[in-house]
């Protein structure tokens, strides 16, 4: 999505090349402008439709009201509290399912027996819509922890499968050398499987963010007393469309920030692991 950079290493771009760079730059500004225009048109039309009573503002809310609601909820403090709750749950959910998923994938690689035995269970768990487990989590874990239950349930199986697939590929291609030196399994894990998995782990992490967010919001819908999911459901129940909309905007913002952080961590680890010294 980045803007094409015109800072080329060579000092003197040929006229044709600088013309090309200029046109690229112009095209990029055009795209940015169009994006902003779409947003502005959408908000403008929404506001207009609500003001002129083309639609019922009670059902659709309206942008100007959102700003007021945001200020109210924000200053009163609860909006940020709810955001923090959801963010914390999501981060913890991601960490738990990444660590647990990687451990289980390692176990499956270590013991072909375990992986063969558990294979059908994995298939069933993967196919099962995890939301159906909501009541069970609620009863077993209570209203607060059932959110984590749901988050991990939704992201764990996919994490295991992605990491395990990466391991399988590595085992086929990268372990021969280790075998030729007579390496133990632990050495293979430490020296090859884990470091070579870094790119795959980062890809898994990115998928994990999306899934864990779904799990957390779902969990909050079902049982929680706090968090953006709770706020959305609550707003719906008391017919406060403004509250619902503001919460959704906040959720969108939070997701984008989370993705951004994961991207930064990812490219840092890639750079460190794959182009620096070990």
């Amino acid at each position: 999505m980045g803007m094409p950079s015109s800072q080329d290493k060579r000092p003197d771009p040929s006229p044709g090349y600088s013309r090309y760079l200029k046109s690229q730059k112009r095209a990029w500004w055009g795209i940015l402008l169009s994006r902003l225009l779409i947003l502005a048109a959408f908000l403008g039309l929404w506001e207009l439709a609500a003001r002129l009573k083309w639609v019922d503002p009670l059902l659709t809310s309206q942008p100007s009201k959102l700003v007021t609601t945001f200020r109210e909820l924000g200053f009163e403090g609860s909006l940020f509290m709810h955001t923090r709750v959801t963010a914390t749950e999501t981060v913890i959910g991601i960490v738990v399912s990444m660590v647990l998923g990687t451990l289980i994938a390692v176990l499956f690689w270590w013991s072909t027996y375990a992986s063969k035995v558990l294979e059908p269970y994995m298939v069933v768990l993967n196919a099962l819509p995890k939301v159906a487990l909501g009541p069970i989590f609620y009863i077993l874990l209570g209203d607060e922890y059932s959110v984590y239950g749901m988050a991990v349930a939704i992201s764990l199986i996919v994490t295991i499968m992605m990491v395990e697939n990466g391991f399988k590929e590595l085992a086929r291609t990268k372990l021969q050398l280790m075998e030729s030196f007579g390496a133990t399994r632990l050495q293979m894990l430490r020296m090859v499987m884990l470091p070579a998995s870094v790119p795959n782990l980062i890809a898994t992490l990115k998928v994990n963010v999306g899934l864990t967010l779904v799990g957390v919001i779902m969990g909050e819908f079902l049982s929680s007393k706090a968090g953006l999911g709770y706020l959305i459901i609550y707003g719906g129940q008391v017919f406060q469309m403004n509250m619902v909309m503001v919460s959704i905007c906040m959720l969108a913002l939070m997701s984008v920030v989370l993705y951004g952080i994961v991207n930064v961590i990812g490219s840092y680890m890639l750079k460190k692991g794959f182009h620096g010294r070990t």
């Binding site: 990268k174 021969q176 050398l177 280790m178 075998e179 030729s180 030196f181 007579g182 390496a183 050495q187 020296m191 090859v192 470091p195 070579a196 870094v198 692991g273 794959f274 182009h275 010294r277 070990t278």
Partner: protein, 259 residues
């Protein structure tokens, strides 16, 4: 006493679908310091034979002896240079060179010193801190060879080490590898598809038959031009063509793929 002894060795691979008899009744004795080349049709079991010598595989029947002792797991006396270089892209050249030393719990300082020495000696002194993807194919193969040498094995097993290279670099690298192995005084077993390569590098060429494979001919390579010719010189020596033709005839009927 021979440093490698293969006595009446047979090996079959078992998979749920089928049984593949790769080797049947293979015998060979290799003396310390010898350079042996093995040629044979594709899929006849050359790599299998090297894996047996390294101790990665156990024979289905028969015995494999290293220094008179039967193998039990991978022997530290053996260094195996695989067909692909297997350099780890998350390590720089120097720490790639230390992989074997690390696995075998050798003294890191000493191994690193030896690795640097070898890099220097074989024209790669500036590359210790480079990443593998900054090296050419030939350089990567040389790093792979040095990685094998760092653990100081008495025996080097080379499984088509040049097959990934173009003809030019292949000739140069063959020359380098020959010199490196000779001046380190190692015993070497080289598997190759290339008859000229086999003749020009080895003291003895062994020819294998189709699967189930055994050794069907052995050619001690002697040139009237004298001892210690370089591979390049051997290709021009008088009896070179004679050897080439005999080996070619032995392999006749077997599809040799010259890559």
């Amino acid at each position: 006493m021979s440093i490698i002894g293969v006595r009446d060795v047979s090996l079959s691979y078992f998979t749920p679908k089928q049984e593949t008899e790769a080797l049947r009744g293979v015998n060979m004795e290799i003396e310390p310091g010898e350079f042996i080349s093995i040629v044979g049709p594709s899929g006849c079991g050359k790599s299998t034979l090297l894996s047996l010598i390294s101790g990665m595989l156990k024979p289905t029947s028969g015995r494999v002896l290293i220094d008179g002792r039967e193998t039990d797991g991978v022997s530290p006396k053996v260094g195996y240079m695989l067909q692909r270089d297997h350099l780890f892209e998350w390590r720089d050249v120097l720490s790639n060179l230390l992989v074997g030393a690390e696995i075998r719990h050798m003294d890191r300082e000493r191994a690193a010193r030896r690795a640097r020495e070898l890099l220097e000696r074989y024209g790669l002194s500036g590359f210790a801190g480079h990443n593998p993807d900054q090296l050419s194919g030939g350089m990567r193969q040389r790093v792979a060879l040095i990685r094998t040498l760092v653990t100081d094995p008495d025996i080097l097993l080379l499984d088509e080490p040049f097959s990934a290279l173009d003809y030019q670099s292949r000739l140069t690298l063959a020359e380098d590898v020959f010199r490196i192995i000779k001046d380190q005084g190692k015993t070497a077993v080289l598997v190759t598809h290339d008859i000229s390569e086999a003749i020009s590098m080895a003291d003895r060429v062994l020819v294998m038959s189709k699967r189930p494979s055994s050794i069907i001919a052995a050619y001690p390579i002697r040139f009237e031009e004298g001892e210690g010719l370089s591979p390049w010189k051997k290709r021009e020596a008088g009896k070179y063509n004679e050897y080439f033709n005999s080996i070619w005839k032995d392999l006749d009927g077997h599809a040799i793929v010259s890559r």
